[in-house]
């Protein structure tokens, strides 16, 4: 396994403490020195520096002010003293003036004349006499001082506590404890809850929420007929137990896990093995794996106890969470790549699991939350002490590759590839050997040429070497997918501990060239009780296991709340906290804090069971209420923050697509093994192969199994607001844009789905009115009303003749026109608002 040369990050920190500065500062100033300052220094500072570096600056740049002696000595955010009396080497403003360092040249537009710079040197060497004795209160070199005790008082940093549900006045409305919290809010605002949803609406809502699919006509019929008080519970349990449930809820998690099968960024390298993580998430939701366990596995599955090889394999696959993020593979600077990778991991983990934007503290203390740069680098050390294995192979535009984790053949994992014949393996091998020889020859030739004539061995020769080597590497990558006997190897993206753990220095402004103090690996201070040990024990390996236990803990104030809010948001259409990925100071406060705590604590008491949490919410009257408009309520609470009605919700892209296929009876429920991305291989041709596979044949699998290549999201999904797969996203956009209308009217997929739907309706045994009813049942779970029947018959009498006429008349034309009209009618149902909205 390859290790990056991280140890080179450790450089002796150059810091000067405040005490040193104070000791060398002068109290009295000799008159000639004072004159020197007034004549040669102060005017220059005032003219060239104060605009950005004084108390009067509109905006102080870099936290540096130069209008007092105190602040001039202290310096700015960089942590380096501005001026150190007697030492130009430790006076950062002098270094900036000389323009020696390209990244720090001051004043920025024009270098000061040499004699002025010489005066500053002289002044610093004479001890930087400075009469500007004004004291600035709380001078801190531009840094915000974070008071952890104050910080811990933020609502979400305190542990959730269960409180008794409030008393309510309206009798008979509440069914569960949730309802008392909700009703109390509604009553307090002087509003009233609206009527319950009718049965067909309710089962459609439940079915889509739990399975991402419309209920079948039979399911609707049975539910409408079931008048027992337990009817809702029964139907909820039925869908919770269905295979389809895992596929639906896994997708919600994949949104916050910013799951994708390629690197994104500048060079979109394919991740052929990412799909294993997707399957792991589906399986976890299906089995209702306790959420705390689910999180632990994703952070440190490789370090957890396991029962057998299969169990171990699953847990390793879970760490794919840390490996599938977006990466800039073409970064020539490997240390920068390593730090960017860690940053991405901290960002994804903290937003998805904790609802915190910890990555903001990479370059400076968090601007809003009580999180320090020290906290960040304590976490960074944990991830730097782990090796992220994401695979990919060496190419012109990919300078950052890694190994993958190989699992045993008997670990019980599915294969994403078909077995090939041993002869094919041998053939690949011989092709590789030939290609490797060609590459070696190209290298030697270019080298020989370079010996003769330096100028000739230019870019052309380089490209030839690179081209031949890339070719060899690509074949090698394909070869590496198989055992000698042609069976595919089980390769996994994930994370393992490095042999030697590593503490990270704080990087000043996040710059790898400016390492500061080294901080021990540890946890986020504000989320730990005062005095609680933060650091990872030196024997503790990377510390990921400690991190996992700390996040997935009942003592962590955020974890359960964040997940309870995510589930609430998906079921109710808006979060109790409107910013599901940010529970920090800049996030929204909860509309119902006691309810959120109730849900969070109950969630933990119920063994972190997501299914129980879902069931609890769905059984509430708040969930089962109607979505009808009510003028009086609307006037007071137009955004429905109080949940006086169910929000009308747009289905997400996957549900719309799956429903389009389902109503036509052509949705293939068989889970896809692997992914088109895996089958495309890792070779040079992969993207082309993938393109052929994705665009060439109609995919009828469930949407969750479609290939998710960053920035090349399948059109059907992207047009309906599939989120940016590089970002954590707990609340998708729902736009209403013309491109969606164009898609549903004109795209072949939409037309194809309409044809399948029409063919199914045409086969239905009954008269035209019954067929119409059947189409309505399939699409909306209800029959058409009189108004709709009239509109449809109006359509039919106009549309069918138009088409028939355009087809040139005749018996054949009439039949074709009949089907065209039926298909256009079915397409209209799919295209209608009702199809894509839940009431």
């Amino acid at each position: 396994m390859k290790l990056l040369p991280l140890s080179s990050l450790i450089l002796a920190p150059v810091m000067l403490t405040g005490a040193d500065v104070a000791e060398t500062a002068h109290a009295g100033i000799a008159p000639d020195q004072l004159q020197f300052f007034e004549k040669n220094i102060r005017p220059v500072l005032a003219r060239h520096c104060y605009k950005c570096h004084s108390a009067e600056s509109e905006k102080v740049k870099g936290g540096l002010t130069l209008d007092t002696k105190q602040a001039t000595l202290l310096g700015g955010e960089s942590g380096h003293p501005g001026v150190t009396p007697g030492s130009v080497a430790q006076s950062s403003i002098y270094a900036a003036m000389t323009w020696k360092n390209e990244d720090m040249q001051m004043p920025p537009k024009e270098k000061l004349p040499d004699d002025v710079i010489a005066n500053f040197k002289k002044w610093i060497e004479m001890g930087a006499p400075d009469p500007r004795e004004t004291k600035v209160a709380n001078a801190n070199g531009g840094k915000r001082v974070i008071d952890m005790e104050e910080g811990r008082k933020h609502w979400s940093f305190q542990k959730p506590v269960k409180q008794a549900p409030p008393e309510v006045r309206t009798e008979g409305w509440t069914r569960t404890e949730i309802d008392r919290f909700i009703l109390a809010g509604i009553e307090k605002a002087g509003l009233h809850p609206v009527r319950d949803a009718d049965r067909p609406t309710l089962i459609r809502r439940i079915a889509f929420d739990l399975t991402g699919l419309p209920p079948t006509p039979d399911e609707v019929k049975a539910f409408v007929a079931d008048t027992s008080p337990d009817a809702a519970r029964r139907v909820i349990d039925m869908y919770l137990d269905s295979e389809r449930y895992g596929e639906r809820w896994a997708r919600h998690w994949l949104d916050v896990a910013r799951y994708a099968e390629s690197s994104g960024k500048e060079v979109n390298v394919l991740y052929s093995h990412a799909w294993r993580y997707r399957d792991y998430v589906i399986e976890s939701f299906k089995k209702d794996k306790p959420y705390d366990q689910f999180l632990k596995e994703q952070i440190a599955g490789d370090l957890l106890k396991f029962t057998d090889k299969r169990d171990q394999a699953e847990k390793i696959v879970a760490t794919g969470f840390l490996a599938v993020g977006s990466k800039g593979h073409n970064n020539r600077d490997r240390r920068q790549f390593a730090m960017d990778l860690v940053d991405e991991q901290i960002d994804a983990m903290s937003q998805s699991m904790l609802g915190l934007t910890l990555a903001c503290a990479r370059c400076h203390d968090h601007k809003f939350d009580p999180v320090t740069q020290r906290d960040y680098y304590a976490l960074a050390g944990i991830f730097l002490s782990s090796e992220t294995l994401f695979g990919t192979y060496d190419q012109l535009q990919n300078s950052n590759t890694s190994a993958l984790i190989e699992l045993d053949r008997d670990a019980g994992q599915v294969s994403g590839l078909a077995k090939i014949a041993p002869a094919e393996v041998a053939q690949l091998k011989s092709r590789y050997e030939t290609a490797a020889r060609t590459a070696e020859e190209a290298r030697r030739e270019a080298f020989a040429m370079r010996q003769q004539d330096r100028d000739k061995a230019g870019a052309a020769a380089f490209l030839r070497i690179r081209g031949t080597r890339d070719n060899a590497e690509a074949i090698k990558a394909d070869l590496d997918l198989f055992h000698e006997d042609g069976t595919p190897r089980t390769l996994v993206m994930g994370v393992l501990d490095r042999k030697t753990p590593f503490n990270s220095p704080i990087l000043v402004r996040g710059d790898i060239k400016q390492p500061g103090e080294v901080v021990p690996r540890g946890l986020v201070e504000v989320l730990c009780a005062k005095g609680e040990p933060l650091n990872i024990s030196p024997e503790g390996g990377s510390g990921r296991i400690d991190l996992a236990h700390w996040i997935a803990s009942k003592d962590n104030p955020l974890t359960a709340r964040v997940m309870a809010n995510r589930v609430w948001l998906k079921l109710m259409g808006s979060g109790l906290v409107a910013t599901p990925d940010n529970f920090g100071v800049m996030g929204q406060k909860p509309t119902h804090p006691e309810l959120l705590d109730h849900l969070a604590v109950t969630f933990m008491e119920n063994g972190w069971s997501v299914k129980k949490l879902i069931r609890e919410i769905m059984l509430s009257r708040a969930y089962q209420t109607g979505s009808a408009y009510d003028a009086a309520n609307f006037a007071v609470d137009p955004d429905n923050k109080l949940h006086w009605r169910m929000n009308q919700r747009r289905l997400d892209a996957e549900a719309i697509r799956d429903a389009m296929l389902a109503v036509g009876g052509v949705l293939n429920f068989y889970p896809v093994d692997g992914s088109p991305v895996a089958r495309a291989g890792e070779g040079r041709q992969a993207l082309l192969t993938l393109q052929r596979e994705v665009t060439g044949k109609p995919h009828t699998c469930r949407s969750i199994y479609l290939p998710i290549v960053r920035d090349q999201i399948p059109e059907m999904l992207s047009v309906f607001d599939f989120p940016d797969a590089s970002l954590v996203n707990g609340d998708r956009e729902t736009t209403n844009v013309p491109s969606q209308s164009l898609f549903l009217m004109n795209n072949q997929q939409a037309q194809g789905a309409a044809d399948a739907f029409a063919a199914r309706v045409a086969k239905f045994d009954g008269n035209s009115s019954e067929r119409l009813g059947y189409a309505y049942q399939l699409a909306f779970g209800r029959g058409p009303n009189a108004q709709e029947r009239q509109a449809i018959s109006h359509f039919w009498t106009r549309f069918q003749p138009q088409v028939a006429k355009n087809m040139g008349g005749g018996k054949d034309a009439k039949q074709k026109a009949d089907f065209a009209a039926l298909s256009a009618f079915c397409q209209s149902l799919i295209a209608s608002a009702e199809f894509r909205y839940l009431n």
């Binding site: 920025p108 024009e110 960024k265 500048e266 060079v267 979109n268 977006s326 800039g328 073409n330 970064n331 960017d340 934007t357 100028d455 000739k456 230019g458 870019a459 052309a460 910013t579 990925d581 940010n582 009808a628 408009y629 009510d630 609307f634 747009r650 393109q691 920035d711 090349q712 059109e715 970002l727 956009e733 736009t735 209403n736 844009v737 013309p738 491109s739 969606q740 209308s741 164009l742 009217m745 004109n746 795209n747 072949q748 037309q751 009303n785 108004q787 709709e788 109006h794 359509f795 549309f799 138009q802 088409v803 355009n806 256009a824 009618f825 209209s828 209608s832 608002a833 009702e834 894509r836």
Partner: protein
């Protein structure tokens, strides 16, 4: 604040099924009362922060990094020192030899702007050009610099310049996309992406590469996705759409008569239907006169493609599109500079000159900022015997129209053209300046995401006021 006019909802009155216009008007009014001007939709034109000089932008993006010392950055010292060792300013290229510009420079226009002979047509517009000679960007690597050119960052996923512009100003014609990118390179979705901004602000792609490049609508020419219906006549489609809208109306009534969501669906269908008519019309160049086509070099083999794209850009701008970008690739002359750079310049010279002339004659140039440039420049020394390497420390872009002064150079590189030494314009500064020309304050154009306000320029950016009229 003015009450919104409901003209966009006119169809509701006239739609063949006779929708209840009053119900919609009541709803819309309610929404307006609730959400203020936002009820007009996220694309509605918005007031700028301050004086707006450019209403539209056409960005001619030369992907691959054109050589500045062979085009717009005249360096007599580079000619004088030809063949000498590169000076220390060249950094890691210390042992390379300086290569003089391979084309003759002359002064053009009344302003006497220095341009190389690669631009015979554009030279006639020298007095319109504001040449930015002191551009810098962070990294000398194509993908990163290309991303930074468009989003300001090489590291994070951020919205593109066009998306920010559209977010800031809305569009002037809601029958068309507000941000159109023609021929974007593959794997450069960031260059027109909206990242965390609402998806509606992302660029609509016309043509362009990418492994999944799609053929749209079945026509020969690349266009807006799904803009053509291959099955039905317009009349048939209208009949079908009337059914869809009747069903939507029924849905609305069942939900209590008020639903912003359903109303949104109804509107988006009508807009889409109008776009179907409008987009192909704007993209149809055949109605332009032969003289106009010739002006852009349409019909001449070398200039036909880019000429068509430039003409299309003019038509989009004329129709109210806020931001149009056209990418022209392969300016990466590590070798074969002499032939390849000449070919590239020839391919764009006439079309660009034609665009400026055409915009001018239609009175559009004063409101339209035309920008030319790539992600960085090239080294003054040679690579091999006929090429130049990447140079991010000093390079050239130019702007014209849209309230910038013409016939001037802004900033300067050193004697050989390695580094910007005067009035440096980093990409952040350039972004700040482009936004300022559009009337947007780069420090006030913010969007709240993940708990904080984001800007195109992050914490950087200085507006170059001196180049504005």
């Amino acid at each position: 604040m003015k009450m919104p006019s409901f003209s966009r909802r006119e169809f509701l009155k006239t739609g063949s099924n006779g929708f209840g216009y009053l119900a919609f008007a009541a709803l819309a009014q309610q929404q307006w009362l609730r959400a203020g001007a936002q009820a007009a939709g996220p694309l509605a034109a918005k007031a700028p922060h301050f004086t707006q000089r450019a209403k539209h932008v056409i960005f001619l993006c030369m992907q691959g990094a054109p050589s500045h010392v062979d085009t717009f950055d005249y360096k007599p010292k580079l000619i004088a020192d030809a063949g000498k060792q590169a000076p220390s300013a060249a950094g890691r290229y210390g042992s390379a030899k300086l290569m003089p510009p391979q084309w003759k420079f002359t002064q053009q226009g009344r302003s006497g702007l220095w341009m190389s002979e690669l631009w015979p047509e554009l030279a006639r517009h020298a007095d319109k050009l504001c040449v930015l000679n002191s551009m810098t960007t962070d990294l000398p690597a194509h993908p990163q610099a290309f991303t930074q050119l468009h989003t300001g960052t090489t590291q994070f996923v951020r919205p593109s310049l066009g998306a920010w512009s559209l977010y800031g100003l809305g569009t002037l014609n809601e029958n068309l996309p507000g941000f159109i990118t023609i021929n974007p390179p593959g794997n450069a979705a960031r260059s027109y992406g909206s990242a965390f901004l609402p998806a509606i602000y992302q660029g609509t792609k016309i043509g362009g590469g990418g492994a999944f490049a799609r053929r749209f609508g079945g026509g020969e020419q690349a266009g807006v996705a799904n803009i053509r219906n291959s099955r039905h006549t317009t009349e048939e489609q209208r009949t079908q759409l009337d059914l869809v809208q009747a069903l939507n109306k029924a849905t609305m009534q069942q939900g209590g008569g008020v639903s912003a969501e359903v109303e949104g669906v109804i509107e988006s269908y009508e807009l889409a239907f109008r776009m179907q008519a409008e987009v192909p019309k704007v993209m149809d160049l055949s109605r332009e006169t032969a003289a106009t086509q010739a002006l852009y070099g349409i019909g001449e083999q070398e200039t036909d493609t880019f000429g068509r794209q430039c003409l299309m850009a003019r038509k989009f701008v004329e129709a109210g599109v806020r931001f149009v970008e056209i990418t022209h690739g392969s300016w990466d002359q590590h070798f074969n500079l002499k032939a390849a750079l000449e070919r590239n310049c020839h391919a764009v010279d006439k079309p660009v000159a034609g665009l400026l002339a055409d915009l001018q004659s239609r009175g559009l140039l004063k409101d339209t900022l035309v920008i030319w440039g790539g992600e960085f420049g090239r080294t003054p020394h040679s690579q091999g015997d006929d090429g130049r390497d990447h140079n991010n420390k000093g390079f050239t872009m130019w702007m014209a129209g849209g309230g910038v002064k013409g016939g001037m150079n802004h900033g300067m590189t050193d004697d050989h053209g390695y580094k910007a030494v005067l009035d440096k314009m980093h990409i952040h500064d350039w972004h700040a300046t482009v936004l300022a020309l559009m009337g947007l304050d780069h420090e006030r154009l913010t969007y709240r995401y993940a708990g904080r306000d984001f800007r195109l320029t992050d914490v950087h950016g200085t507006v170059a006021r001196e180049i504005m009229m």
